[in-house]
Symmetry: C2
Subunit: 339 residues, 2 copies
């Protein structure tokens, strides 16, 4: 029934000053043992807990990390969040999550809002629309105001801050190399449009693998998809009549859709066509055939990002050198490739 109790109320009740109460609870040597015990007992009885907002105002730090991501209904992002959350909690930080829904405007709004006192720093993956517009003033602004920012996954070279990425290019390279080692010669690529940084990088890895193995890059075998919504039909159309022996897809959904389309077109996976996707989600494991993928280790990524941010928050010196951590991917081979 009782509302939250404050120092002032305790002070009044015990007929001492607010500072005495505060110091008692901090076990200050300035206060007599008697008084301290009395105050502590009373505080415990009324379940006193200091008000975070007041503390934040006083200390000018909130012990809160802002996460801004494009989308929450997305397995990879949730694993990253889990990683961040784990580390943050360990270090006494809270986490506040905002979604940009891939909208530039909402990203700006979120960032501005959280920057006004709500958080000490940010961990973010930028919205697709932002990457398209190439407008990063909002991010640069919070950084220039002294807020540390750590970017992950979709990072912006132009913005100077700590970053955590996976070796997209190398991960793609390895996957395609694996396919080549299986004697695949006609490997199709299903990617996203180029302004999405990861799509671009994975495409580069695909191409590099081909060229280093003296295989020709055939643009007819490359599909770039704008929106995930109608990917299924597009993929089917793309694969129709194509003479291929493997597919490399830059995400899980595209890989699944590719298998479905291939099956529809009368080709068997993995007997006729081997398929490798990117990102190890729930679907990959469950699917029949289970999907071979490039695992991104989202949780590690989140953990690393959180460490970087907290380190910066807690270091006294305003370190000016920023680092980009590149995390390795690992290739998980399951049933969607021939043995």
């Amino acid at each position: 029934m009782p509302r939250k109790i404050t120092l002032k109320q305790i002070a009044k009740e015990l007929d001492v000053s607010v500072s005495t109460v505060s110091k008692s609870l901090k076990d200050s040597s300035e206060i007599s043992v008697d008084t301290k015990e009395k105050v502590k007992a009373f505080a415990k009885l009324y379940n006193y807990k200091p008000n975070n907002i007041a503390l934040s105002l006083k200390n000018r730090k909130t012990k809160t990390i802002g996460i801004i991501i494009p989308e929450i209904v997305h397995h990879f992002f949730t694993t990253v969040i889990r990683g961040i959350e784990h580390v943050a909690n360990e270090k006494g930080y809270n986490v506040i999550i905002c979604l940009s829904n891939n909208s530039f405007d909402k990203e700006v709004l979120n960032l501005e809002f959280l920057a006004n006192g709500s958080t000490d720093g940010f961990i973010m993956s930028v919205a697709k629309e932002t990457q398209q517009k190439e407008d990063y003033h909002h991010i640069k602004e919070v950084i220039s105001q002294g807020m540390p920012v750590v970017m992950f996954d979709r990072v912006i070279d132009e913005v100077i801050c700590d970053k955590v990425v996976i070796s997209d290019k190398h991960g793609a390279f390895e996957a395609v190399q694996y396919l080549i080692d299986l004697q695949c010669k006609k490997i199709a690529l299903i990617s996203t449009v180029d302004y999405v940084s990861v799509g671009k990088l994975r495409t580069a890895g695909y191409k590099e693998a081909l060229t280093t193995n003296d295989l020709e890059v055939n643009e007819d075998l490359i599909l770039k998809i704008e929106d995930v919504e109608h990917s299924e039909e597009k993929i089917e159309e793309f694969l129709k009549g194509k003479d291929i022996d493997a597919v490399f897809a830059v995400n899980e959904q595209f890989a699944v859709n590719a298998i479905k389309a291939l099956t529809k077109l009368g080709k068997k996976v993995p007997e006729d066509v081997s398929v490798i996707g990117f990102t190890d989600g729930v679907v990959s494991k469950s699917f029949i055939p289970s999907l071979s993928t490039v695992n991104q280790h989202g949780e590690d990524m989140g953990a690393k990002a959180a460490h970087l941010l907290i380190e910066r928050l807690e270091s006294e010196t305003e370190e000016q050198s920023f680092q980009t951590t590149v995390l390795d991917t690992s290739l998980i081979i399951r049933d969607s490739v021939k043995k």
Copy 2:
């Protein structure tokens, strides 16, 4: 380069008082047009934005909603979050997410921490461990301190607050009824242990459907699983040698595992055995055969919960009547049941 600017700094710079600056920015009629314009121009130039923390302290409200859920890497919960976030943002609220990881202690910690000024109210789904322990003192306490709480999905009857649930029992009933209408007579149930409220309710729906159709409830056809981790083997073992023509599973994962197990055991889905799951996730749509499921409408659930909470936060009167909103499920029929 400039740190965030405050009213005080603007005041000093323009040689007026802090109150004049504050009033100017609020376009108060007390201040001359000249001064107001000067202040506004200056504020705009330096990109002044009021400090949220200071505002929160002053207004004694944070315009922030706390979400506490057991797990983030979970499709259903993320859809709920998306629903909450959408409504919250519309109404000018922010969202802060904490994970209990299904641990009672962490749930308590999160709740206590957020209750000390960080949020105006909570939307939560309780941890499995909490349901097991049946210890709800932490939730009752924040409520008694005047913090509105809205529970969803896993709700506690014993705690008096607003709730949003789906008609678990009825959803299960409909699914099983559908199977019965297909002439299935030997329907297995794969559920969770009973202390998880939704598992219990869905089991009840299953049983009711059987009895209303004069079918016997055979406990040998019911499997209750404790942890999801090793569900695959357990389900396979359970199904081995069982003479059944349908399976109803209380979640997506169990349904998928059931199909895999059945396939392994030489039975065809849907020709020999029809399968219906619960919760419409990514896997359901992608799986082959695509899964028939009871759709929970997570986003609606989140939206409703957010509406309930915000309404309570913004109503002056301390309304004492709490409501439980029951959302309908809908049965999505795909390829995992025979036609």
